[in-house]
Amino acid sequence: MTDTRLPTDDQLWLCMSETMRSVILPRLDDPWARAALIRLIGLAEFAPKRGEDPSEQRTSETIACIDQLASSYPDIAAQLPAGWPGVDQRQVLDLCSQLLAASVGDENEQANAVRIQLKTLLKVHLTEDFTVSSPLITSFAGGLNDR
C-alpha cells in the first residue's frame, strides 16, 4: 500500500488477529467455533509473516545451482531442457525432481553432488517456509501462539 493515508495490510491483519483474540474468543463457548477461531487467528498471524513471494528468487537460485552441477557433469548438462536457462518454474522443479530421484541409491560422485548441492538448496527453501508456518501447528492443536 503506497497511499500512506490508508492502513497497510499488516495493520489490517493485526486488527483481525487482536480483535479475534481479545473480543470474540473470550465470548465463544461452542468448542467447534473456538477451534475454528483459534486456527483463524493463527492464519491471520501467519499471512503477514510470509512476505514477498519467494518463487522467482528461488527459481534463480535453483537454476544457478543446476548450472554449476551441469558444468561439472555432462550427464546433467544433457538433461537441461531446451531454452535453458530461460525456462519456467515448473520446468526447473521437474528437472530437480528428475535429478534427485535418479540419484537415489547411487553413490557415485554426480549423485552425491546432486544431494549435497541441489537437495541442500531445496531443504533450505523448505526450512524457510516451515519456519514461518510452524506456529500454525500450535493453532491446529487448539493453542494460541505468543504474540
Binding site: 534427485l100 530421484a101 537415489v104 541409491g105 531445496l122 523448505l126 526450512t127 508456518s133 510452524s134 491446529f140
Partner: protein, 317 residues
C-alpha cells in the same frame, strides 16, 4: 464449508432414511460427532414408530485425502459380516444430490470418550493384529487395489500416494519425488502381508471398560505390509496414549512383532510420505474455494511441510 449449517441436513436425511427403511423416519437431532478433515461425521437421532435410533453419517469433503467412501463402506460391511468389531454400515449414497457430497450411514457405537490407556491399549493391539491376519478373501473383502504380494503392494501404495499428490498440486515437489524414488528403491520384498488399516490408533477406535467395540475410519484401509500400521500407530497416532517404546513392547508381547531399526525407518518414511501427499489435497480444495476452512489451509501448509521436513531428514540420515 465444513462448518455448514448441519441443521439443514435434517429434512433431506429424514426423507432419505424413510425411503431406505420404507417407513416414516424423522431426524430429531443432528450434531457434529468428531472433527475429521476428510470426512464430516454427524451423529443423528432418528425417530421411527416412536423409537429413537442413533446413526452416524460420514460425509466426504471434496475428495480430500484422495480416498473413496464407497470402498470404505464395502470394507466395513464385510468386516462386520465376519464379526470383526466395526460399526454396521447401513446405506451408501454416491451422488451429491442430497447433501452436496457422497456419504454413508452407519450405526452409532457408543463408548468411553476418554483417551485409552492400560489394558485397553493391549486389547487394541490384539484386535489390530487380528485385522492384519484376517483371511480377507474368505471374509469377502473387496479392495480397489488387489496386489498379490507384499512387494507389489508397497510399490502400488507408493505410486498411489505420489499420484494423489501430483494430481493435487499445480507444481511438482522435488523432495516428495525423491522420497517416492527412495521408497521404491528400499521397498521390502517380503514381510507380513495383510489388511492394513492405514490410520490406526487412539482416536480411531471406540472402547469401553477395556473392550474394543469398534475400529473406525477405514478410509485408508488397503492390502499391504502390516508394518505400515504398527509404525503409524506408535509414531503418529499413539504417542498421546503411550510412548513409542511402550507400543514397541506391546507389539512384541501381543503380536510377536519386532521391527529392525531399518524396517522402522522405512515405514516411518512411508507414513510421512503418505501424510505429506494426502495433505496436498487439502490445499487443493482450499485454494479452489470449495471449502475455505482454516483447518484445510493449515493441513495443506504447516502440517504438509512438517511431514516433508521430517521425511527429508530421515532420508538424508
Amino acid at each position: 464449508m465444513t462448518d455448514n449449517n448441519i441443521e439443514s441436513f435434517i429434512e433431506p436425511l429424514s426423507g432419505y432414511i424413510s425411503s431406505k427403511i420404507e417407513e416414516v423416519a424423522r431426524v430429531t437431532e443432528v450434531r457434529r460427532l468428531a472433527e475429521g478433515h476428510s470426512r464430516q461425521m454427524l451423529l443423528i437421532h432418528v425417530e421411527v414408530a416412536g423409537a429413537v435410533q442413533r446413526y452416524v453419517v460420514r460425509i466426504e469433503q471434496d475428495g480430500i485425502f484422495g480416498t473413496s467412501g464407497a470402498e470404505e463402506f464395502r470394507v466395513m460391511g464385510a468386516l462386520h459380516g465376519v464379526g470383526f468389531p466395526v460399526a454396521q454400515v447401513r446405506w451408501l449414497e454416491n451422488s451429491r444430490d442430497l447433501l452436496g457430497e457422497p456419504f454413508f450411514v452407519m450405526d452409532f457405537v457408543d463408548g468411553d470418550f476418554d483417551n485409552p490407556a492400560g489394558d485397553t491399549l493391549k486389547e487394541f493391539v490384539t484386535v489390530l493384529d487380528q485385522l492384519h491376519k484376517l483371511d480377507w478373501q474368505n471374509a469377502g473383502l473387496d479392495f480397489d487395489l488387489k496386489p498379490e504380494s507384499v512387494e507389489e503392494a508397497t510399490h502400488l501404495q507408493i505410486d498411489r500416494w505420489a499420484n494423489i499428490y501430483r494430481s493435487a498440486t499445480p507444481l511438482p515437489i522435488p523432495l516428495l519425488e525423491e522420497a517416492a524414488a527412495w521408497l521404491h528403491y528400499h521397498a521390502p520384498v517380503s514381510g507380513p502381508f495383510g489388511i492394513v488399516h492405514g490410520d490406526p490408533g487412539p482416536g480411531n477406535f471406540v472402547h469401553d471398560k477395556g473392550e474394543i467395540l469398534a475400529l473406525t475410519d477405514f478410509e485408508f484401509c488397503h492390502l499391504g505390509h502390516v508394518y505400515e500400521d504398527w509404525v503409524f500407530c506408535a509414531v503418529m497416532r499413539g504417542p498421546r496414549s503411550l510412548s513409542t517404546d511402550g507400543w514397541i513392547e506391546l507389539y512384541q508381547e501381543l503380536a510377536d512383532t519386532k521391527l529392525t531399526a531399518e524396517e522402522w525407518r522405512y515405514w516411518q518414511v512411508f507414513n510421512l510420505f503418505k501424510g505429506s501427499c494426502a495433505n496436498t489435497t487439502s490445499l487443493r480444495v482450499f485454494c479452489a474455494g470449495k471449502n475455505p476452512a482454516p483447518n484445510l489451509a493449515i493441513v495443506g501448509t504447516a502440517i504438509h511441510q512438517n511431514f516433508l521436513f521430517q521425511l527429508t531428514g530421515l532420508i538424508s540420515d
